[in-house]
Symmetry: C2
Subunit: 138 residues, 2 copies
Amino acid sequence: MEIEIQLTREPIIAPKLAEEFSGSAGALAEFSGNVRASENGAAIAALEYEAYSPMAENEIRRILESLAEKFPCLAVSVIHRLGIIPVGETAIYLGMAAKHRGEAFGLLTEFMNRLKQDVPIWKRRALSPAEFSALIKS
Amino acid sequence: MEIEIQLTREPIIAPKLAEEFSGSAGALAEFSGNVRASENGAAIAALEYEAYSPMAENEIRRILESLAEKFPCLAVSVIHRLGIIPVGETAIYLGMAAKHRGEAFGLLTEFMNRLKQDVPIWKRRALSPAEFSALIKS
């Protein structure tokens, strides 16, 4: 299983798995976890994510390698954005190419559960519309 | 839950769920079931799908409505292509926008299982490279 992991402070650009695995992948699945405009009932304008980057990347790789036996996809790409992420933009992207859909859906579901439990990436704070405006003007 | 269903003989164009649900959807999931270059060990160039279209559309809607209670997404789009579909192209597309990933993953997995079991859409035949060449030249 090809594994690609990125932690980035830039907007996420999804890889072109459909083109790369054209003819070999019967199943392509993509997931984006995006910032919503409210958190715990309050309007927000952005979230800030932080990570221990090398540790987070190692841990993501370890989880993917441990899931590869049960859910042998052709390729998986995990991209997590860090820093301040405005509402509507993507914090985490997962893309999978697999022969059959079962492996792709299994990997997607299990990986996301493990990510939340085990990987040192966390929401540091939510920025209100006023805080976010002040920040982008500064 | 907004439901969009299309059965089409043209290449599938994915809807822009990320834009439409920007700020409200925390989870966007997309799945494409694509034609692979081999079937049962033999090289193929295309698959042909057929359907009882009105019945298939009704049945897809019925399944989605029955799953909406357990997996209440904001929107789901199901597009199935019919006719001759060349290798690498998409036969079935599913797109979901949801507040949280659990609903999206649940709907995706369960819907695909039910589609295969209950909906009158079937692979009519696999076309070999020679058959497919002859067909597109005719």
